[in-house]
Symmetry: D3
Subunit: 130 residues, 6 copies
């Protein structure tokens, strides 16, 4: 479905290799995902996105699993096939059980339904919610 040109480590510039090395080390994986290999076509974007992801997904007030579930829910809502596949895997690696997966899907589906009911009925915001 795609002719996406991917850049492998062996063919990468030192700048790209530095990002790939940091991804592999941070995630403790032997190779980076295809997402990073295609972004490597634009080294500035590769570096910016990786640094943003690393900062945003780091443990903070929220734990990594919760962040991955939110990432997955948004990706499902947007219908991004690649992102659904990769973030389902990431969430499972972070501990998402089958029961939790089912609840993330149920909430995501429900939110999409009531979002449209609120739109269609043009619900005025409650005074105490403004």
């Amino acid at each position: 479905m795609s002719d996406a040109k991917m850049i492998e480590y062996r063919d990468a510039s030192p700048e790209v290799r530095a990002v790939f090395d940091d991804i592999k080390k941070s995630r403790n994986v032997p190779d980076v995902n295809n997402f990073w290999k295609v972004l490597a076509r634009d080294p500035a974007t590769l570096k910016r996105i990786w640094e943003s992801i690393k900062e945003v997904m780091a443990p903070g007030a929220l734990d990594p699993l919760t962040k991955e579930m939110i990432y997955l829910a948004v990706s499902v809502s947007n219908g991004c096939g690649y992102c659904i596949a990769s973030h389902t895997a990431a969430a499972r690696k972070a501990g998402m059980s089958e029961a939790v997966f089912g609840e993330v899907m149920a909430v995501t589906g429900m939110a999409n339904e009531t979002n449209r009911l609120a739109n269609g009925y043009r619900v005025p915001i409650d005074d105490n919610l403004t």
Copy 2:
């Protein structure tokens, strides 16, 4: 911005009152939100949506706060103004701190960005993710 007709408890049919009563009891609130008052125009939808929400948002494998954060993230991603207002309030009531709110927004924004990068670069799904 809206001429949405809302049905107040005093004007509601017994069928609608039963749902309103259950919402007020389940959530321990003195009155239901505008969302429910407009849905009351269609009692079958009111009942179906409330029962679905009650089931989906009940504590399960996920706690209520996590569910509210996912609901909020999806509503933000979809740009539903009413839903953002009401689920921000619900998440705060369930314990969402300002720091957690900031992280939910950051993850939601980031997911929307990388969803499009994955679309635009037409990233093929990794063999180990299929």
Copy 3:
């Protein structure tokens, strides 16, 4: 919420007046909606969109009410506030009852929910549906 510059009939060029006249005649209304008054800022777009709308919304294999309900469902799903207001009015004018409105909303909400469940569970297309 908007500083949209609108062009009134009295200030319009002959080219714009011709479109406004055709809208008023076709719809049997004394004035055109704000949508057309803002599009009049770009006469070529005004003309193209009106001619397209006139062709697409004309009675054909589907009656005007069904077309308006589909238009409304899509506008609700996309969250376009102006379009929801104007196409709710248009559908009512074409005969949409309160009961029908409720069912259009219910179907629109349900479709948005199951669209995401199909995305999230990555359902393979059935052999007999390809």
Copy 4:
């Protein structure tokens, strides 16, 4: 494109079989679609979604074909590949001709275009539409 785990009737729990039996009987089909087989991984969601769909899609103020066309229009607008395939088939089974299909697509496309023109030109809602 998907490794979605599907649950076949022979491997299903009594709870899941009861839903599958009701789907098969209601729709007069020999087997359920893949959508239901994947949802069966979460029996509570399977049951809730089926009961909601059955209620929402039942003949009411609107006939089943009109409901299927609205479902299809929303699915097309959202770009859900599985849903487009399954609801195109369902609408055809309910009587959608090729001419009607063409008009549903034309209205869906047109609505998506004018939704964005209304957004971009920031059209203020007409006084008589509020």
Copy 5:
């Protein structure tokens, strides 16, 4: 992934052939894309869309490459696989370099991120922007 019925030139009606001929001549290509072959199932839509596209994409205040980049950015944002493939090709044919492609993707991604931050934080429009 699709059983889309396509109409080839040799099987097309004179009405459809006239549109195909105009596309081939305007774009200086030996055959039309699949998009036009499927739209040919509905000759009125085929003709309307082609005439609209021809008008909208013609050189005007904006050059063709800029228009193709905007078309691509919207298609990426909406996640339309076919449109991403065809408009990436069209933009390259119009002169989009790899560096420009990278910047279109970066802007598209960034806009999707900040759109959600503005939604989620419910930013009030600045007085000088209304």
Copy 6:
């Protein structure tokens, strides 16, 4: 419509002031937009988004006006009211004429229409486009 808490310069921490100062200097404006004042509630996000925006929107292979037009087109397509207001203003400041604005809107609308026609007709990707 919003109770968004905004942080003014006089109340900002040194970390936030540094970002505000850089925005004001880079854009040659006396004060930052509301968008930045709400993001200041989360200084890490404020800094990350500003640095990303500054990098992505800098002149490169594309000029600033073209980048602003793409940003606007995406924001219109997503229906983000705040973003439409602020990026229309930014594009005008960068030189967008009324004629160019009209063409950006026309292309954005058209892309949204054909995106859905491609979805609905399930157009297979041409062999020469893969």
